[in-house]
Amino acid sequence: MKNGFLIFLASLVVLGGSWCAFVLAPVLQLGGLKQTTVLNSSDVYPVGRPGEANQGLQVYRAEGCAACHTEQIQQSGVACDVVLTSVGTNETAVRKAFENGLKQNNWPLFMTQNFHKAGEPEMLLINVSKEIADAAVDTITAAGGKAEIHIIATGPDIARGWGRRHSVAEDYLYDNPVQLGSVRIGPDLADEGARSPDASWQLLHLYAPQSVVKGSAMPPYRYLFQIRQIGREPSPDALNLPKAFAPPSGYEVVPKATARELAAYLLSLRADVPLRDAPFSSR
């Protein structure tokens, strides 16, 4: 081969280049990831999973849950709400200044006064850009009142109630392997523990999804449960199933260890705190 050395050198450069881009760069970027602190708090995030939930991750993996569920919340934008916290000593001056601002700067008027409940801080502007929110807060502060900006993450996933912010690398710090998933036949589960924090609900849902979510497309995972004859007295762990899904009388449905572990894992999936790289205002 006449150009053997040249070909060797070229393939070394190509393979080495892709190794740098796909292996080295991500490790340099995120390899040293550590726990972080929750915004405006001294709590750390994430907290390691308890043992049972850690086992549950392996059940989640073995049952192929990631084939229909993702664990990644997407965010397409960020918006601000302006909240009036105090009208100060001269309420009319504050209101007037705000109304002038509305007129002069074309702030999007939202008839929030109509929805305002007594005793709660009043929303002045909803879903505006940071520039408008800053200008509105400055106007109110100058008039002697006090207003705050609430940061709201926006996007289809967040509108569906699947979470309050996008997923970040810290969310997966204790996942091995990470169960990102790519197909959403079912809902995203990144914030499932915060959405349905009841372990018995999770167990009912695993045994008979349609018994708690009408029209659910999820297959029942009955083999994670034991259907057995009631002994001297019913087990305290037995599922409290509605009549249509209950076993024949004299029988009870008891979760096996795998079902309990999977439920514990699902409860441990909580991406509900604001972080520096995923800010939002907690209320």
Binding site: L39, N40, S42, P279
Partner: protein
């Protein structure tokens, strides 16, 4: 006919591909370099140069910084309430009324509604023991230094919460102010006595 064919053997086509050294055209090299440059501009614009903190809708560190929620008074109150409910509320009550005979109330207490909070802040930082009068009633106290383990921000939140809830109306306490009070603490092995507490400036 056959002789004619013999004298005219088939000629090879004139454009037979040959083996020759050829170089990459210059325009491809220029185009590749331009694409590389555009790629770098894209990364700079969309991820702040591979900054691991920057995701999705945010495109730069400055933009992310501007969207950090400010820990305004409302956020501080909410945070302080959470800590209070967790640590203080067990004895002083979630309603700040205390427990008759055991824990004095915080609502309307003259020890809470002071002009400044220098003295108040020392109570959770050092603890109190002995006889103390609160709202005209004598209490025999032994409060441990429940706030000593809290961070400055946590304690500031709790103090802000107790000074502005249940009818108490006082301004906020900042974490920096709590830090100054903490720096002034002596190394008391014992909790403060009521006399020592009274001797302190408000």
């Amino acid at each position: 006919m056959s002789g004619e064919a013999k004298s005219n053997p088939p000629q090879p086509p004139a454009s037979e591909p040959g083996i020759a050294r050829s170089t990459v055209p210059v325009w491809i090299i220029v185009l590749t370099l331009m694409l590389l440059f555009l790629g770098m501009v894209y990364f700079d614009h969309h991820s702040g140069w591979f900054n691991p903190q920057i995701y999705g809708p945010y495109t730069s560190a400055d933009q992310l910084e501007s969207y950090q929620p400010k820990s305004g008074e409302a956020a501080m109150l909410a945070h302080g309430k959470a800590r209070y409910d967790q640590v203080c509320g067990l004895c002083h009550g979630l309603d700040g009324l205390g427990k008759p005979g055991q824990t004095p109330p915080l609502a309307g207490s003259e020890w809470v509604n002071t002009r400044d909070f220098q003295r108040l802040a020392r109570i959770p930082l050092e603890g109190v023991s002995g006889q103390l009068a609160v709202k005209g009633q004598a209490w025999s106290l032994s409060m441990p230094a429940m706030g000593a383990a809290m961070t400055d921000a946590d304690l500031a939140g709790v103090l802000t919460y107790i000074r502005s809830s249940w009818g108490n109306q006082n301004g906020p306490v900042t974490a920096a102010a709590v830090k100054t009070v903490r720096a002034q603490l002596g190394l008391h092995p014992q909790p403060l006595t009521a006399e020592a507490l009274k001797a302190l400036p408000e």
